[in-house]
C-alpha cells in the first residue's frame, strides 16, 4: 500500500485538502507515549496485586487459580499485541509504532515469567523436584515451559548493545523465534482447555494468530 492521501469519504464537498501538516510532532513520538504505554502494560499486574493484597473478593473463591491463569492469559495477549505491531504499521501506515515493540515484547517475557512463578509457587510451593517432574510428565506443562524458555534469549538480547554484538542479520534471525513461541504458547493454551472441551477462547486466540502470521506468510509469498 502506498501512502496516498485519503480520499474524502463523506458526501459533503471535501474541504480543500490540507497540505502536509506543519512540522507538528506525531503523538506517538511524544516522549510521554512510552511512559503511558508502560503504565498501561502494568495495569493487569496492578489489578492482581491489589486483589491479592487488599481485596480478595476480586480474585474469586480460588485466587491462586485466578492468578496463575490470568497471568498466563496476559502473557499470551501481550505476545499477540507484539506480533500485531508490524501488521498495524502497514495497515494503518503508522511506522512509528515500531518504537513500542521492544517494550511490548519485554512485557510478554515479564508476564510469562510471572505466570511460571505463580504456577511454581502457588501450585507447587517452589518444590523444584516436583516442578521438574511435572514438566517431564505432562506435555501441556512442557509446552508452556518450552515457550517460556524460548523467550529467554529474546529478552536477553533486547538491548542495543546485543544487537550490535550479534549483528543485525543474526539478531533478526534469532528473534524470528517469536513465531515458534506464539504457536507453542497457543498449543499450551488449547491443551489446557482440551480436557474440559472448552475451546471458545482458544478459537478466538487461534483466529487472531492465524491473521497475524498468515499476513506475514502471504507477504513473503508475494515477494
Amino acid at each position: 500500500m502506498s501512502a496516498t492521501p485519503a480520499a474524502p469519504t463523506r458526501s459533503q464537498p471535501a474541504p480543500p485538502a490540507p497540505r502536509r501538516a506543519p512540522a507538528k510532532r506525531h503523538p506517538l513520538l511524544h516522549p510521554a507515549a512510552k511512559v503511558v504505554l508502560f503504565v498501561l502494560c502494568l495495569l493487569p499486574l496492578g489489578w492482581y496485586v491489589y486483589g491479592a493484597v487488599a481485596n480478595p473478593d476480586l480474585l474469586g473463591a480460588n485466587p491462586a487459580e485466578t492468578l496463575i491463569r490470568g497471568l498466563g492469559d496476559w502473557a499470551l495477549r501481550f505476545l499477540w499485541i507484539t506480533l500485531a505491531v508490524t501488521p498495524l504499521r502497514t495497515w494503518f501506515n503508522q511506522p512509528t509504532l515500531a518504537r513500542f515493540r521492544r517494550m511490548l515484547g519485554l512485557f510478554v517475557f515479564f508476564y510469562a515469567s510471572l505466570h511460571l512463578l505463580a504456577y511454581g509457587w502457588l501450585d507447587k510451593s517452589l518444590d523444584l523436584a516436583e516442578i521438574l517432574r511435572d514438566i517431564a510428565k505432562r506435555p501441556f506443562i512442557l509446552m508452556g515451559f518450552v515457550a517460556w524458555l524460548l523467550l529467554v534469549p529474546l529478552a536477553a538480547t533486547s538491548f542495543n548493545r546485543a544487537i550490535k554484538a550479534l549483528g543485525a542479520a543474526r539478531w533478526q534471525m534469532l528473534h524470528k523465534l517469536v513465531y515458534a513461541i506464539s504457536i507453542v504458547g497457543l498449543m499450551h493454551f488449547i491443551w489446557m482447555r482440551a480436557g474440559k472441551n472448552n475451546f471458545a477462547e482458544p478459537i478466538v486466540y487461534g483466529s487472531i494468530l492465524a491473521v497475524l502470521l498468515g499476513w506475514r506468510a502471504w507477504k513473503r509469498l508475494r515477494r
Binding site: 491479592a52 474469586g60 473463591a61 480460588n62 485466587p63 491462586a64 487459580e65 492468578l67 509457587w121 502457588l122 501450585d123 510451593s125 511435572d134 510428565k137 505432562r138 501441556f140 491443551w191 489446557m192 482440551a194 480436557g195 474440559k196 472441551n197 472448552n198 471458545a200
Partner: protein, 330 residues
Amino acid sequence: MHFHKPRHGQRILSSEITSREVYAARRDWLKGAGALGLTGLGLSGLSDAALAQTAGPGKLAKLPGAKSTIAGATVMEKLTAYKDVTSYNNFYEFGTDKSDPAENAHTLKPRPWSVLIEGECAKPGRFGLDDLLKVAPMEERVYRLRCVEGWSMVIPWVGYSLAELLKKAEPTSKAKYVEFTTLADKAQMPGVRSGVLDWPYVEGLRIDEAMHPLALMAFGLYGEVLPNQNGAPLRLVVPWKYGFKSAKSIVKIRFVEKQPVSSWTKAAQQEYGFYSNVNPNVDHPRWSQATERRIGEDGLFAKRRQTLMFNGYEAQVGQLYAGMDLKRNF
C-alpha cells in the same frame, strides 16, 4: 465431641478445627432452638445437636435436617463459606466459567419439579418434588467435596440416603447400574445451547455404590434449599468420587443392566473414567491428583494439602472396590 484419628500420616492442622465464628453461629442458632425441644440437653448433647444445624444466610427457604448417624457422614473440618460454595461452581448448563452458574442460574425454575424413575424396577413412576421431600427424614451431612480439577470444599448438605429413594421403586435383579439424567432445557439453561457437552448430562453409579448409605440425595445446603447454581431442587452427592459424578438438577433416574456412559467419559474417555473415585495415586492425564487446594481456607502461598484415598471415606466405601484394579478402573 469426637475427632478423627489422624490417618495416612496426616496431621490435623489448626486451621481444620472449627473456628470460633462457626461454633458461635451454631450456638446462636441453638439459643433459638427451644421450640424444637433441644434445650437443656447438657453440654455433650448441646454440641451434637448444634452440629445438626448449620445456619445459612437466610436467603432461601429453610430446610432443616437432623444430625446424621451414618458413619462418616459428619466431617469435623472447617466448613467452606456459603459464599464460596454458591459462587464457585462447575455447572456447564449455565456456562463454563465457574462464576457463570451463580450469574445465570436464576432462570432455572426448581418448582414445579418431578423425577421420572424407570427401567429395571417393579414400581416405576413419576415423583413430584413434594413427595420426594417426604421419602425419608432430612439429615444434615458434612461432606468433603473434591473436584477433579484439584480443589476441594467442605459442605453441610441436607438430604437423605439415595438408597431410601431407590428402594421405593423396588429395583429388580437386573438393575446392575443406576443412570441419572440432568435437566437440559435451553429456555432455562443458557449453556445447553453450546456444544461443550452432549446434552443432557448423564451420570451413573453401580447399584451397590448407589445403595451405599453415604450416597446422598441432597435437597439443601447450609440448612436451606439448594441454590439453583448448586443443582436445585435435588442433586446427587457422592462424597468419595470427583464432584462431576454428582449429577445436579436431576429429572430422571433409570435402573439399567449395562454400565451407563457418563457425559464426561463420552467427551474425553482417557481423562474421565466411569468410576472416578478420588484417588491420589491415579493422576489425571494433565495434572496430579495427589494434592488439592481447599477453597477459602488455604492461603495463597500455603502448600496444597494431600488428597486422601476415596476422599477420606476409605473406611466406609473401600470394600466396594475390593480386588479391583483402580488404575484401570479409574
